[in-house]
């Protein structure tokens, strides 16, 4: 299959990131972290380039990419909301937070809003159990979050929230 000029242009920044590392398997994770940081997700072509660069079968690269919660195979929203559902947060009723996020944004964990603004994910532990339940919005950690705080956080990022009836 011939590569369209447009496609080739899109691949260049990916290639630059991939080529920052020597072609060895041990750099696989580091390359994927850089790609995720740059593109906010792991584009399909980028995974192919990475696999070819470090000489690891695509299946293994894909397996790793789907294993770590830090990676996403679909574009994440402008605001990435990551709700911790680890043991400590779970006991501190993180489910209430997740339900509120679901209700406010109208998406399930793992999805992105249709306007590309917000994406919601649950993570297994952020290592900040003392301030549970924790919600991370674009790398900013919000401690001891309540349902009301969730609405405020969404609003602070320009999201529209319907106020609950009767409050």
């Amino acid at each position: 299959m011939a590569i369209e000029p447009q496609q080739a242009a899109a691949q260049r920044p990916m290639e630059q990131i991939v080529r920052r590392y020597p072609p060895e398997q041990r750099y696989l994770l580091a390359i994927m972290q850089d790609l995720q940081k740059e593109f906010n997700y792991l584009p399909r072509e980028a995974l192919g380039l990475t696999a070819a660069h470090v000489r690891v079968p695509l299946g293994k690269v894909y397996s790793m990419a789907t294993f770590y919660k830090a990676f996403s195979l679909t574009p994440r929203g402008r605001v990435s909301l990551r709700a911790c559902d680890g043991t400590a947060c779970h006991i501190k009723r993180s489910q209430v937070i997740i339900d509120e996020l679901r209700k406010c944004l109208g998406i399930q964990p793992g999805e992105t809003t249709a306007d590309g603004e917000f994406s919601l994910e649950t993570v297994n532990c952020l290592g900040a159990c003392a301030i549970a339940p924790v919600l991370v919005a674009n790398h900013k950690v919000h401690a001891k979050v309540t349902a009301a705080a969730v609405r405020e956080i969404i609003k602070s990022y320009g999201g529209r929230v319907d106020e609950p009836v009767g409050n």
Partner: protein, 247 residues
Amino acid sequence: MKIVIDGIETAASPGEMLLEVARRLGVRIPTLCYHEAFGGQGVCRLCLVEVTAGEVSRLVASCTYPVTGEIEVRTTTPEIERIRRHIIMLLHRRAPGSEFIQELYREYGCQENVPAPDPDERCIMCRLCVNACEAVGACAITAVDRGTDKRIDTPYGEASPDCIGCCACAEVCPTKAIGVSRAAGHYTIWNREFELERCAGCGRPFTSRPCQERIARLSGQELSGAQLCPECRKKQAGSRVALSMIP
């Protein structure tokens, strides 16, 4: 060194896996994730046995337990049967579609299980298929996602260019979870369709082209001309030997 399995004394070399010693002795220990080609994985836990060394007794997975000293082994005790039954119930809940699991479920007289999330599921996630795929050098299938979403699949769930259609994955699967749909002249596995090549001798379809190419490469030969199926190859070799014996 001497070990005793179910009252029978036998010799084992140090480091030898307990399951292999038991098999050699003819003692039956049920397994799912064990395969001679890959050794023990300790995934399914069905091969649980009781090992007594001196005063201490404990339960171990015999497929990953290397013999390092004089031990006494019991492969069935009420305790083992109870735990094994429990493991089978868990496996049955995960893969109720597998006939092999259903048989074990009946054989061990399991109580009624809670409804399964997927009544057609057959995979127990033992990864034998992934090992087989890696061993043939394809690596077309791997574990995808994690936790309760984990499954065996090709990248993006699409036909993989790395798959050679050898069906080794379907062959080693203990629960027949990997489907191969066959039709006249071709077959489909992991969403990829393969044409069947015909044997130059008997004319029967027997394998895929990518498979032949891989075998040729692994054996350091060039793939040239007509290919024979294993049976015709055997016959050819046999007649060659027979002819060479005629003075």
